[in-house]
Structure formats: C-alpha cells, structure tokens
C-alpha cells in the first residue's frame, strides 16, 4: 500500500491576541496509507482539528515537514487532491441542494452535463435523490451533512478530510450516518479518510487505525490498530472485540487526561 500522507516532527504554535503563544501540536510523526480510515481523537483543544487543517493547507505548520500524495500540501490543495467536510455542513444558503454539490465542479470547470451527472450520482449515493431542488434550510441537520459529504466527494478526491462531521447530530442519526459513511468509503474504492472526532464509539466503529492525541501540546499518545472485521455492521458494536478496543481507546485518553486533570 502506498503512503499518501507523511508527517515528520510537525509542530504548530499560535500567537494569541494577548501576545502569549499556545503550543497546539508538538512533534507529530504519522504516516497514512492509501485506503486507510484514520480517526484523530482527543479532548477538546488537543489540536486534532489543527492537524487536519495543516494537511488541508488551510493553515501552515510552524516546523516539521509534511507531504500529501508526495507533494507539499499547498500543491496537493491546488491539485484538488482532497475533499473537506466541516463540522457544520457549510452549505451555501443561496444554492439549491444540487447546486451546492455542483459548487466544486463549477470551480473546477466541469461542463454543465458533467456537473449535473456527477451531482445527481453523488446525491443518489448519499440517498438524497429527489431533494435536488430543495434549499439547505428545508433539510434536517443529518441531511445537510450528507449533502456536504456528496459535495466533498463530487470531484472524486482520493482523500477525504472530515472535521467532526457528525458532532452536532443526535446519537441515533450519528449511528446511521456512521453506517452511511462506511458504505460510501467502501464504494469509493481505496479512498483514504482522516476523521476528527471526540466520540470513542464512532472512532472505533469506523476506523482502521485510531490516533489518540494528548492535550496541550497535542502529541500522539497512542496509535491503536482497529482489527475488527470488514465490513462493519451494527452487530459489530455488540462484539467483545469492539468493547475491548473502545476500552483501550478510553484508557489511552484517560491516561493523559488524568495527568492534566479534567479541566477541559
């Protein structure tokens, strides 16, 4: 399997408004292989979203090196190598559902027929066929997030970056969305996903590897291989192996939270 992301000694510090500096990420070394589903998990403020944004070239690291598809992240962004799904759906209010999915295709100069074809295909995949001409406000939160996933995948990137995409959804919807996401990941053959979450259950259920980050400065505390059999089904959540792995992630998180106290 080819390596698509390589991070060496990545660090990031922010300067806050009062002039002090916050050390968000410290010495991150991580490789991501083609087709992996990686979850970044950690307490709030551990820099997991920052790490995702560095991969996406939405912010620059303070030190260390990173390559995406063997290129600097800026080049990868300009080559449209990844799709990004934000915490809230970030749909444009003035566009209908289908026009929202077509947005990246418009920017990337796809023809009108290609745009329409791809957008309909993607909407069918996230099971929103028939909602093409609705406006975002006419959809529920879960449906909006599905549109945003369809939009991120419309131009068929090989890498999907997701920043707590289901954080705002209720537990039932979230579990259904988890299954949807796994199905999509399987359909999009060999696509890699980097998934930021603070739900242990979600991380274990979805991932092939879970990266546990410690809080301030964010360091990799532990990387846990999730060797649950594929494809994962709702029954997976009932297996002993699943319980065992969620406990391991919980202990990994707790170990580092205990030393810092539960001040988050």
């Amino acid at each position: 399997m080819t390596t698509i992301i390589e991070m060496n000694h990545l660090s990031k510090s922010f300067r806050t408004k009062d002039g002090s500096s916050v050390h968000a990420l410290d010495n991150i070394d991580l490789d991501v292989k083609q087709g992996e589903f990686i979850s970044l998990i950690g307490p709030s403020g551990c820099g997991k979203s920052t790490l995702l944004r560095i991969i996406a070239d939405l912010i620059a690291p303070s030190s260390g090196t990173i390559t995406v598809n063997g290129k600097p992240p800026r080049q990868a962004r300009q080559d449209r190598d990844y799709g990004f799904v934000f915490q809230n759906a970030t749909l444009y209010d003035w566009r209908t559902v289908i026009k929202n999915v077509e947005l990246p295709l418009e920017i990337m100069n796809y023809s009108r027929e290609q745009r329409d074809h791809r957008a309909r295909e993607m909407l069918a995949m996230v099971e929103l066929a028939g909602f093409e001409d609705k406006y975002p406000w006419q959809l529920s939160g879960g449906m909006q997030q599905r549109v945003s996933i369809a939009r991120a995948l419309a131009f068929q990137p090989r890498l999907l970056l997701m920043d707590e995409p289901f954080g705002a959804l209720d537990e039932m919807t979230r579990e259904r969305m988890n299954n949807e996401l796994l199905r999509i990941w399987t359909e999009m053959n060999e696509m890699s996903v980097i998934f930021v979450t603070h739900s242990i259950a979600e991380a274990v259920y979805l991932s092939t590897r879970v990266v546990v980050l410690s809080p301030r400065p964010g360091r990799i505390a532990e990387i846990i291989d999730i060797d649950l059999p594929q494809p994962r089904t709702p029954e997976t959540r009932d297996s002993d192996a699943y319980f065992h792995l969620t406990s391991r992630v919980r202990y990994a998180l707790r170990g580092h939270m205990a030393s810092h106290g539960f001040d988050e």
């Binding site: 944004r53 996406a56 070239d57 939405l58 962004r77 300009q78 080559d79 449209r80 990844y82 799709g83 990004f84 934000f86 915490q87 809230n88 970030t90 444009y92 209010d93 003035w94 566009r95 947005l103 990246p104 418009e106 920017i107 990337m108 406006y135 406000w137």
Partner: protein, 434 residues
C-alpha cells in the same frame, strides 16, 4: 382521485371550470403577487389606450395624467414588462389552448402599443387614413374628430378584449377567501390608519384649526383628485431626478465597495471615513451643488441625490462582501478557488442582502433629496417646486396633495426595489414560504 371526482360533483360550474382548466395551468397560486401583476396590467392597458388616443389624452382627466412626454415610453415599457411576467414560462401555456389564446391576445395588444407609442407607428390610424402627426399634437379645430373617435372605439375594443382576457385568467372572484385572509392579517394596521384619518378630521372640526395650518384629510383628498394629472407629471419629473441619482449613486457605491473590499487595507482606511461622511446631513449641501452644477438644470439635483445614495450603499457593500463566514471561505480555499470565483460564488451572493437593505434605504433618501433640492430653485416642473410654490401662495391643500403624490412615488420606488430583491433572493430567510 376519488376525492377529486366527488369534490367536483358538488362544486358549481364556475369553480369546476377553474379547477379543471385554469388552476392546473396557473398552479395553486396562493400568493397575492399574481393579483398585483393583474391589477398593474389592467391599469397599464387602460393607460396605454388613453395615451394612444388624443381625444382621451387631452379631454379626460385620467388621460391627461399621462401627458408627460418622458412618462409615456416608460408606461409602455412597464406594460411590456408586466405582460411578460403575466405570460410566465412558455412551459405553463404551451400545452393549453385556452391559456395559449390568452397569451396571444395580451402579447398582441402589448406589441401594438409598443409599436404605436414607442415607435410612433400607428397602424389603426394609418388604416383609417389619419395623419400620424395628429396623434402627437394637441387638439385643434382642424383635428379630424370623427376619425379619432372611430380610432378610439377600435383601439378601445382591442384594449377591452385584452383587459377581459387578463381579468378571466386572474379570476379575482374565486380568490375572495384569499383577500379576506389578507385583510384579516392587516386588520390592525388598517384600523390604525383609518383611526388616524378620522381623528385628524374630527380634531380639526372640534378645535376649529385653520385650514392653512392643517387641512382636513377630506380636503386634501379632494385637492388630490382634482389636480392629480398635474401632480403625476410633476411627481414624474422629480422622480426622474431621484431615479438617475439613485442609479449613479448606488452604482458608484457598489462599484467602489467591490473595489475597496478587494483590497482590505484600502477598505479599512475608507470605511471609517465613509461612515463619518454618511453621518453628515449632506442634503444641506444642496444650494452649493446648485452653485457647482447650475441651479436651473437637473444635473445639480441628480448630483445631490447621487451623493446621498452613495455612502450607505458603499458601506453596506463593503460590509456584505467582507462579512463572510470563515468556514465558507475555507471551503473555497480547499477547492483552490480563484479570487474571482470566490467573489462571484461566495462574496457577492453573501453581500446581496446587505446591498438590498442599503438600496431600499437609498430609495427613500433619493426621493427626499430630489424634492428638497428643488426647494433651492431650479426647474419649475417638479414636485418640490410645486410644494414650495403652493405653500407660498397659501394653497395648503394643494401642497399637501403634492406631498401625498411624493409619498406615492416614494412607496412605488421602494416596492419596485423590493420586488427586484425578492426575485433575486428567493432563498433568503425573509422570503421563505411557510
């Protein structure tokens, strides 16, 4: 389906026709927008018929309201516009011969009037052997009155058929429940308005306030009805200054706003100054503008309107273009979108609500500036001059009637901009249908 059949058995013939023939074409349109278009269209059909016939234009009061030469082409263009809106998308009538017939009649009448009034080619007049010059000149002893009367009857039948078509498709008699609902919703404000008018009338009678201090509403209404042809003409002249000033001022405001928002440092420097200048009562500069651009032409009026409309538009445009959600911007960055694409697909739609809020404020400012600037001299054909003149001659009911006409123009200006806003921003929360 069975429900529909049952329903039809018990409904009167008229309603059945409506449900089976008309409703499927027009759709179950429950908004009052269609009523607005229909009323406007009926009014414009009547107005164009009057403009087109010298006997009506010079000898009836309604006709003489449209004697202003620059108003006439605008009336025809409004007719074409509202006919186009009324006709709607071809898909809605191609399948239905009834609607098709209505569309043909209304389009034919509209085209006839566009040709006759805009291009001065009078087809019926030519067929009746009436000299084309007769239609554009005042009536004299040589005017062929019999020919014109025949012409009036023929065009009157055309206008009548067009109006009847519009009325049949409008079916206001089947929308009574809609109107009752609308009346019920606006009952409170209507009552307040009626109460204000009644107490105004009553208080003047009780305290015997002199008419030159404050005329009764009924007196103002009488003066308005008596002089409305002149008021329309004067109002139109003033409105033109307001409109051109609005177009130049708001156009320049939007363009500089776009330019300023493109260069953050420039807009940071410009915005506080613009906000400060906006706080100055610019209208006070009207006499100085008269000095700069000449008191007698309308340039000085248009200029002061433009300056007044410029600053709020500029400020709102900059705000709308820069107040963009961070995540929406990051989304664009993740697509490696060009600055032009970000502008067209994110910043501009995001700014539209801000820009239209400013434009609506600017309509009111423009009318104020256009009227007040006339107080300081210049053309004698405008409303501002008329208000000042009437007040100076103690003709206060006439002055109040002019103020009423100014309000009507102001309200229509505002509504027109609102309609454009509504058409461009159907997605916006304030226009979401329930």
């Amino acid at each position: 389906m069975a429900d529909v059949v049952n329903d039809l058995k018990t409904t009167p013939q008229l309603l059945r026709t409506h449900r089976l023939v008309i409703a499927p074409v027009l759709g179950a349109d429950q908004s009052l927008g269609r009523d607005g278009v229909a009323i406007l269209l009926l009014f414009l059909i009547a107005a164009t018929w009057h403009i087109q016939n010298p006997l009506l234009q010079f000898e009836t009061q309604f006709g003489s309201a449209f004697r202003n030469a620059t108003l006439q082409p605008v009336i025809v263009m409004l007719l074409a516009l509202s006919a186009a809106i009324w006709v709607g998308k071809p898909a809605s009538w191609r399948e239905n011969p009834l609607k098709m017939g209505g569309v043909v009649i209304v389009i034919a009448y509209t085209l006839y009037m566009v040709v006759a009034i805009l291009f001065r080619v009078n087809i019926v007049g030519a067929l009746l052997n009436i000299d084309a010059a007769v239609f554009t000149e005042r009536l004299t002893n040589e005017t062929p009155r019999d020919g014109l009367a025949l012409h009036m009857t023929i065009t009157g039948i055309m206008a009548g058929v067009a109006a009847l078509t519009v009325f049949i498709w409008w079916t206001p008699f089947l929308r009574l429940s809609l109107y009752i609902g609308a009346l019920a919703r606006s009952f409170a404000p209507l009552m307040v308005a009626v109460l204000v008018l009644i107490s105004w009338e009553a208080l003047i009678a009780i305290f015997q306030i002199e008419a030159f201090l404050l005329p009764r509403p009924s007196v103002i209404a009488a003066a308005f009805i008596e002089t409305y042809p002149r008021l329309v003409s004067a109002g139109w002249n003033t409105f033109q200054n307001a409109l051109w000033g609005f177009i130049f001022g708001c156009g320049a405001g939007i363009l500089t706003g776009i330019f300023a928002a493109r260069f953050t440092s420039f807009s940071r420097a410009l915005l506080p100054v613009a906000i400060m200048v906006n706080a100055i009562p610019i209208i006070a500069l009207a006499p100085i503008f008269n000095n700069w651009f000449g008191a007698l032409n309308s340039t000085s009026k248009i200029a002061i309107v433009a300056v007044l409309a410029y600053f709020p538009t500029l400020i709102s445009t900059i705000k709308g273009l820069t107040a963009v959600d961070t995540l929406s911007l990051e989304l664009m960055r993740s697509y490696a979108a060009t600055p032009l694409a970000i502008f067209r697909k994110l910043r501009l739609p995001n700014a539209l609500p801000y820009i239209f809020a400013a434009l609506k404020v600017a309509t009111t400012l423009s009318m104020i500036a256009a009227i007040v600037s006339e107080y300081f001299g210049g053309s004698t054909a405008g409303l501002g001059y008329k208000i000042r003149d009437d007040a100076g001659l103690f003709k206060y009911p006439e002055a109040w009637a002019s103020i009423l006409m100014a309000s009507l123009f102001g309200i229509m200006f505002y509504l027109a901009v609102s309609a454009v806003e509504r058409a461009l921003m159907r997605w916006h929360p304030s226009f979401r249908e329930k």
